[in-house]
């Protein structure tokens, strides 16, 4: 019988297990290396290199905008209380958990009906807008978390040395590093995002890869392009993660400090509330409104990006809506299976990593560093790797390589870093003395895990599960490559029909998806509140 003491004992097994698990999450991407042998870099295509330059431009501008908006909003929201703060934060975070193509569709439909929106929501400027939306959300949460780390005494000291402005400046200085890191991470993730470029007509690198495998069915070319993109992303993310890793590894641990005092209602809180509300109203809400426009106007005849030629007959609209509902119902089970399966696997592996890392700070840094790199890679990179193996493997292996489980496993491998961060944080709240006391009193390992550890980590695990499920359910690329015939998810259904189906059908599907996402997000926020309490 294994003693509970193994949870606290250092040893070589921790390094080996952590290394093996981190290698496991990078495993699906490894077969992309074959692609380089099949398709020389010269054959990758001029369009891809041009796309890469466009993607870089979008990423840089998106990151700068995200930092400029997100830092004051994040810091201010943590410092100054105002009614509806949580709702606004959830609204700002929505673009992180809903697929980017959904926002692109929203902006696109809005632009098709309103000339004002057309100027800045198409092409590269539209992609920048969507990149900035995602990056802003990341920066807001990073700054918010960094500000919450400030102790009550630090805030009081800043207040004694100046006014509320001094507190805000001190808090911004404290948050600028994590916020900057979040902005760069957002930019790097933008490089890997194909959704917006495809819909808004910008030739980005990720959109080129998506075209290679989804339109031209050239897995080898897509794999080579993806390998190049993954290498570039890793080259940016690795040094960044290596520098930020130790700080993140430290920050991921829970604090025992008194929370910063919530300042009374003041000019600062009014300004922050106005800024956050304006941001939500001008950037987050319009694409959602855009999804309603075809339904209100009955734009049944146009497809995405093309204005409707005329009002559709009411009965036609009704049919389209019924069709959208039928599609949503048909794909609901698969969407849930992929989301829940990926979340369960990611939480399992993330918890195993946290268990193996234990209290070893250098292993924690490694886990965070590798996690950041893996998370920055295109979400479909793993799927392309597995698809690359599947094309070379005998057909009898299709059961293994193109199954629901494969979809779940590949999605999980991409989102394990999210679950790992939560698991490491939960593990940090466990005092060594709990285990020592259990060892001295002869408590068995299963009983200790069930009675002591599980209740302590359950809130974090539940949050990680819900968050990964949300993120995984938004993926279309991996599902497209690996799903068994007829087992599509809702985002894939939207992605497949958006070019040809009537605008109103696509918008309805998007709205159904968004509604479910908002419901799950509300549950996650509720869980977070309960956890804090």
């Amino acid at each position: 019988m294994v003693s509970v003491m193994f949870l606290e004992q250092p040893g070589r097994w921790r390094v080996i297990t952590t290394g093996a698990l981190l290698a496991l999450i990078a495993l699906p991407v490894l077969p992309l290396g074959w692609a380089a042998v099949d398709v020389p870099t010269a054959e990758v295509g001029q369009a891809f290199w041009q796309g890469l330059a466009t993607s870089a431009r979008i990423a840089v501008v998106g990151a700068v905008l995200g930092l400029a908006i997100g830092l004051p909003v994040g810091v201010g929201t943590a410092l100054a209380p105002f009614p509806g703060r949580r709702v606004l934060l959830a609204a700002i975070g929505l673009p992180l958990v809903a697929p980017s193509f959904l926002w692109a569709i929203g902006w696109s439909t809005l632009a098709a009906h309103h000339a004002i929106a057309q100027a800045f929501t198409t092409g590269v400027s539209g992609c920048v807008l969507i990149a900035a939306t995602t990056t802003t959300a990341l920066v807001v949460f990073a700054s918010y978390a960094a500000t919450l780390e400030l102790s009550r005494s630090q805030i009081d000291a800043a207040l004694l040395s100046g006014s509320e402005g001094a507190v805000l400046r001190r808090a911004c200085r404290n948050a600028v590093l994590p916020a900057g890191f979040a902005a760069v991470l957002g930019g790097v993730m933008t490089l890997s995002d194909p959704g917006a470029g495809q819909i808004l007509g910008a030739h980005t690198a990720a959109a080129e890869i998506m075209t290679a495998f989804a339109v031209r069915y050239d897995i080898a070319l897509a794999a080579t392009q993806c390998l190049i993109l993954a290498a570039i992303v890793a080259a940016i993310a690795l040094p960044l993660a290596w520098i930020a890793g130790p700080r993140l590894a430290e920050a991921v641990l829970a604090r025992q400090l008194a929370p910063p005092p919530r300042r009374g209602r003041s000019t600062t809180s009014l300004m922050v509330a106005s800024m956050a509300s304006m941001y939500v109203l001008l950037i987050v809400a319009p694409p959602i409104v855009g999804l309603f426009v075809p339904l209100v106007r009955g734009g049944g005849s146009g497809s995405i990006g093309v204005p409707a030629l005329g009002p559709a007959a009411d009965d036609h609209l009704e049919l389209v809506l019924l069709g959208a509902l039928a599609t949503a119902a048909r794909t609901a089970l698969n969407t849930m299976i992929y989301a829940a399966g990926a979340a369960a696997l990611a939480v399992l592996v993330g918890s195993a990593i946290a268990l193996a890392v234990g209290r070893n700070s250098s292993l924690r840094t490694w886990a965070m560093t590798v996690g950041i790199v893996v998370f920055s890679w295109p979400s479909f990179a793993g799927a392309l790797g597995v698809a690359r193996v599947a094309t070379a493997a005998p057909s009898l292996l299709d059961v293994l390589l193109r199954s629901r489980f494969t979809v779940c496993a590949v999605l999980a491998s991409h989102f394990v870093p999210v679950a790992t961060a939560f698991a490491l944080r939960a593990a940090g709240t466990i005092a060594p003395s709990w285990t020592y006391a259990a060892a001295i009193h002869g408590v068995t390992l299963p009983r200790y895990l069930r009675m002591v550890l599980w209740p302590a980590v359950r809130p974090s695990v539940s949050l990680a599960f819900a968050l990964v499920a949300l993120l995984a359910s938004a993926d279309a690329g991996s599902v497209l490559l690996l799903h068994p015939p007829g087992e599509a998810s809702l985002p894939l259904a939207i992605f497949t029909v958006m070019a040809n189906a009537p605008e109103v059908a696509v918008a309805s599907l998007c709205l159904i998806y968004l509604l479910v996402t908002v419901a799950i997000l509300a549950a996650v926020v509720g869980l977070g509140v309960e956890h804090e309490t």
Binding site: M5, Y436, A437, A439, H441, R447
Partner: protein, 254 residues
């Protein structure tokens, strides 16, 4: 009167842990029925000595004997912590936060092999003994610092150990609560005939509860013996300071 019999013995124990060594050639005996304080500055290695004695950590070199039997040797634990007939109150108490007070104490009797009813009865008796019987259904997080200390003590005593290890359990308590607890602990351990090993940096606590002391300096046991001997010839700064304060207080009282 019988001579104290060695119950725990450290022989030339070393513990190397990156980035610095913690214990160097430590030799130290814990005699049966004797209350010994392990006294030293913060970070000198006194809590590590307790963990090595308890079998929670294996020494890098040297040996640990329990009742004359080899308990730990270089890099290995021979006798598991739960087989050493010990109980421990930790500095942060180590109460399991998801379990109520009763379950904390009852789960501490896990290895006893007693029937469920008997475990419950014994847990309740220990809680009553420590004056926290009425808190049985509360969660540890809802209790005051002093109440939590008493629950931790109850968990330790319920297991009916031969030796009680106390790892700075009174740190962070106000003077009045600390005085009450010290008095109660002294009465309880004396009534039960327990051997006690108290780790502390506060000579006053050590003096109040223990008859013997081991002074730890930079990972070594610098002095070891009854208080009277130690105070008559204090080698370490901590003892000299304590003696000076003791003499000043005594002179003021006169």
């Amino acid at each position: 009167m019988t001579a104290p019999v060695s119950l725990f013995e450290l022989r030339n124990v070393c513990l190397r842990r990156a980035p610095r060594d913690v214990l160097f050639d430590c030799s130290f005996t814990l005699s049966r029925f004797v209350h010994t304080a392990v006294l030293g500055r913060s970070g000198c290695g006194k809590s590590t000595i307790l963990r090595v004695l308890a079998g929670l950590e294996a020494p890098t070199d040297g040996t640990v004997f329990v009742d004359g039997m080899l308990a730990s040797a270089a890099g290995r634990i021979v006798i598991a912590p739960n087989e050493r007939r010990i109980a421990m109150v930790f500095q942060d108490l180590g109460l399991w936060p998801g379990l109520d007070v009763m379950d904390n104490v009852r789960m501490g009797l896990e290895a006893s092999g007693l029937p469920r009813q008997e475990r419950r009865r014994r847990a309740m008796a220990a809680l009553d003994l420590c004056g926290v019987g009425e808190l049985a259904q509360r969660l540890p997080g809802t209790l005051s610092g002093g109440e939590q200390q008493r629950v931790a003590l109850a968990r330790a005593l319920a297991a009916e150990p031969a030796v009680l290890f106390l790892d700075e359990p009174f740190a962070g308590l106000d003077l009045a609560t600390k005085a009450d607890l010290l008095r109660d602990v002294k009465n309880l351990v004396s009534a039960r005939g327990l051997t006690v090993c108290l780790v502390t940096h506060d000579p006053t606590e050590a003096f109040a509860l223990c008859t013997h002391a081991a002074i730890v300096e930079e990972g070594r046991v610098a002095q070891h013996g009854p208080w009277r001997e130690l105070m008559s010839d204090p080698h370490s700064a901590i003892l000299r300071a304590f003696r000076a304060r003791y003499e000043t207080t005594a002179a003021s009282a006169d």
